[in-house]
């Protein structure tokens, strides 16, 4: 699979490394910060590109060749949304996933046909779940 990842923070770099382990995958990571890209290490088998995610020009280069997956994983919601929309609408990438930290924005753009995930909502659920046993303990203590 040809996989494009925008944003090489903690999340982006981990996913990039994981995907690149499979030799059948061609992984391209984009970040505007060169330091962020260096997180991938010298032995990273995929490609890296230093570029701004809201600049259309990079997509005309990268997405002119068919991509199977586009992941927008920067920590800026609006950048992820715009990049995902470009990949989906203009370049018809089949699988487009965007990280959106604002739950309401995540829901709004999900309705527009972009697959989104919201770290805030995921954390919220996780925390609530983690708090449940504590609550049982408290109940016992009383």
């Amino acid at each position: 699979m040809r996989i494009i990842i925008l944003g090489c923070g903690r999340l982006g770099s981990i996913i990039a490394k994981r995907m690149a382990k499979d030799a059948k995958n061609q992984v391209i990571v984009i970040d505007k910060d060169n330091n962020a890209l260096s997180k991938l290490g010298n032995d990273f088998p995929g490609k890296v590109m230093q570029a701004d995610g809201v600049n259309m020009e990079i997509y005309s280069k990268i997405l002119s060749e068919k991509a199977d997956v586009f992941l927008a994983l920067t920590n800026i919601d609006n950048t992820n949304i715009m990049a995902a929309e470009i990949a989906k609408q203009k370049y018809k990438v089949e699988k487009v996933i965007a990280r959106i930290d604002d739950p309401i924005r995540a829901k709004a753009f999900e309705e527009l046909g972009i697959e989104t995930f919201c770290p805030t909502t995921l954390s919220e659920k996780k925390i609530l779940k983690m708090m449940t046993p504590t609550k049982v303990e408290e109940d016992r203590g009383e």
Binding site: V54, S60, N78, T79, M82, A83, E85, I104, R105, A108
Partner: protein, 224 residues
Amino acid sequence: MTQQNMDKKFVIVVGAGKTGYNLTKLLMEEGHEVLLVEKNKSRYFELNNELGENIFLGDASESDVLKNIGTNRANVLVAVTGDDDTNLVICQMAKIMYMVPRTIARISNPKNEDIFSSLGVDNVVNTTQIVNSLIEKEVDAGMIVPVMELKGGKVEIVETEITSNSPVVNKQIKDIKLPEDCLIVSIVRGDDVIFPHGNTTLQKDDTVMALVSKDKKAELRKIL
């Protein structure tokens, strides 16, 4: 009064840079209800004294902010922050979540224009492109100065001054062979504005305003 109320619009302007600030003041002068939204605190406090209730501190791409400022009853939303992605997302949210009838986004990167239009932003103001085309026009069109672009630049209102060595000086308009998609709409002579007819004679130092399609501009220039 009723007339005034009918024309009065609620306009949300996002981004209190120079464009946003001046646009807000202009719209207020015209009697519209305007709310300028700015996320930077120090910029907000800088303008707060002057604009009072017409400026709001907050990030308009946060859905809560859009809700609190009453986006649902806005007639127009204009996004003029410095970031193309922010402008796009705010316009889209205003459209999808609050059904704002008209959204306008400024973009800085001309390459983004296509995608904005196809993503449902009603009007895209391509600042870089406008300045660039003005420069090009200045160089290329010589005497003919563009005044206004209509239909996304396909039709223009241009003006030009008639010099003593112009081939049309002292000629009646009906005797001038104008290009097909071209109309002389007015002549400014001294302090007078003349609405021209076929038998109006063009004089030296007249300023001629014409409505012309873009591709006939060069032809018009040759004639005048």
